[in-house]
Amino acid sequence: MSHPFHDVAIVGVHNTPQARRLPGHDSSSIALQAGLGALHDAGIPAADVDGVVGTAAADAVLELGLGPCTRRPSGLGIPSIVDAAMLIASKQCRVVLVLAGGAGLLTDTVAAPWTTPPNELVAGFGLFTAAEFALMARRHMLDYGTTEHQLATAAAVIRTNGHHNPEAVYHGRGPFTAEDVLDSPMIAEPFHLLDCATTSEGGCALVLTGADRALDHDDAVWILGCASDSYGPAYTVAPVWDYTPRQGGEPAGRVGAHAAAAAFAMAGLGPQDVDVAEFYDPFSFEIIRQLEAYGFCRPGEGGPMVESGAIGPGGSLPVTTDGGTMSYSHPGVAAQQFQRVARAVRQLRGDCPTAQVDGAEVALCSNGGSGALFADVMLLGSSRP
């Protein structure tokens, strides 16, 4: 099946150093550093860039001296990469730089600002991301018997991936078992501290081109499929698993099911074709949920699939191989969302320093989650479709 995006490739990716704090940086400066790194990785001079996408897009156009240049100031993750692909597929641009970074945003006294957006209906009840996602997880546990141990097992796998990754903020902190996760302090039941994402600082960027230019790159990675699901703005209304506004549609708890099916159809592939899944991991439960929503198992089978060992190194579907937001990094301004795609690109190139999936040819990456009422899915391949 042909699709205009099948002529679009990712030819450069870069993560800056990631750390709890990056003194001297702000979100724009670390995004720019990531952008220059991605261009270096692609072997493309900055002067060839004729489109920039990301929160810092206009800053990048100015500071890299690219004007006149297309800019799209998107704060989203995978949808920003889709924007870049559209600019190329529609021949508005030839080389698009997608960049994001987060720095200088955190304090030690209150939760990260993006976890508690101001909203009158949730503010008075102390809602924040962990509680929002917990309300979804609890409902799944009630409906399917999913256990805290299954949640903890997913967290332990990802945190151990980060433990082994020398580039991870929490490198060397493990390895972790499910019992370690269950022994960590309770945050918002059923989530213990180690079931939750961390916060950190860093940047991530990617370079996209059309096939004419990408064919010069032996390690170009191709866009096979992509789609997004939203049920509304995140963190402003009750997170209700069974909320089903579209007649005959999937409930909010299954957000991403429709997107994954659409992405697979666009790629002409199915879940069985995926070699590695760079799932977004805001909370441990979301790994179980995504296995089900994206069709890797049936509803209710996500917990047992995690406990079977399928998602670990050497399993049938290794997930979040760099340690994800739980261990690798979580800079907060879309960078951690781009990092799922950047890691998938490296898996398909075969150059991950740790947890490389031998011979990986198809990767699924995702952003979002049920507590945030959105999910973005992208399928990438090592061969041109």
């Binding site: 939760a111 508690t116 209906l121 009840f125 302090p185 009750a238 209700v240």
Partner: protein, 145 residues
């Protein structure tokens, strides 16, 4: 923190981050001040809304109004927070989604029982507690408790 000697869940003290009522939702907050729970409801088709929508998401008419709720329902989902996002919030507290008897969901927090007694389907009713001089928050207690 151990859950072995959990206290009874109580409303938050004053000083927590408070709702800033929008123009659209004034009837909701005025209802709370008067001890009445009202739900955004379409006067054309009867559909409910998760907040004060400008348009009914079922019939797409601009006929959203407010209908009184009996204030009773059952526990649909919950969490117990032990580490708060803001230092003014006292733990533990239990944000919850309540399945109202009217057939709609409502986000609140459960008070008046111990955290380890929370269970699916638990019968609950609304009670209003002042959070500031102008805001009363609709919490849910065990029915008859």
């Amino acid at each position: 923190m151990s859950t072995a000697h959990t206290p009874v869940l109580v409303p938050q003290p004053t000083g927590i981050p408070l709702p800033v009522p929008s123009g659209r939702s004034q009837p909701f907050w005025e209802g709370c001040r008067k001890g009445r729970l009202v739900l955004p409801t379409c006067s054309n088709c009867g559909a409910r809304a998760l907040r004060a929508f400008a348009v009914c998401s079922a019939c797409h008419q601009t006929t959203l109004g407010w209908e009184p709720s009996g204030g009773r329902g059952s526990l649909y989902s919950w969490t117990v927070v032990w580490r708060p996002p803001h230092p003014a919030l006292v733990v533990p507290y239990a944000p919850a989604v309540i399945a109202l008897d009217e057939g709609w969901w409502f986000l609140s927090a459960v008070v008046g029982c111990a955290p380890d007694t929370l269970h699916e389907g638990m019968a609950l009713e609304v009670a209003f507690h002042p959070a500031s001089e102008t805001i009363d928050l609709p919490y849910f207690h065990p029915l008859g408790g």
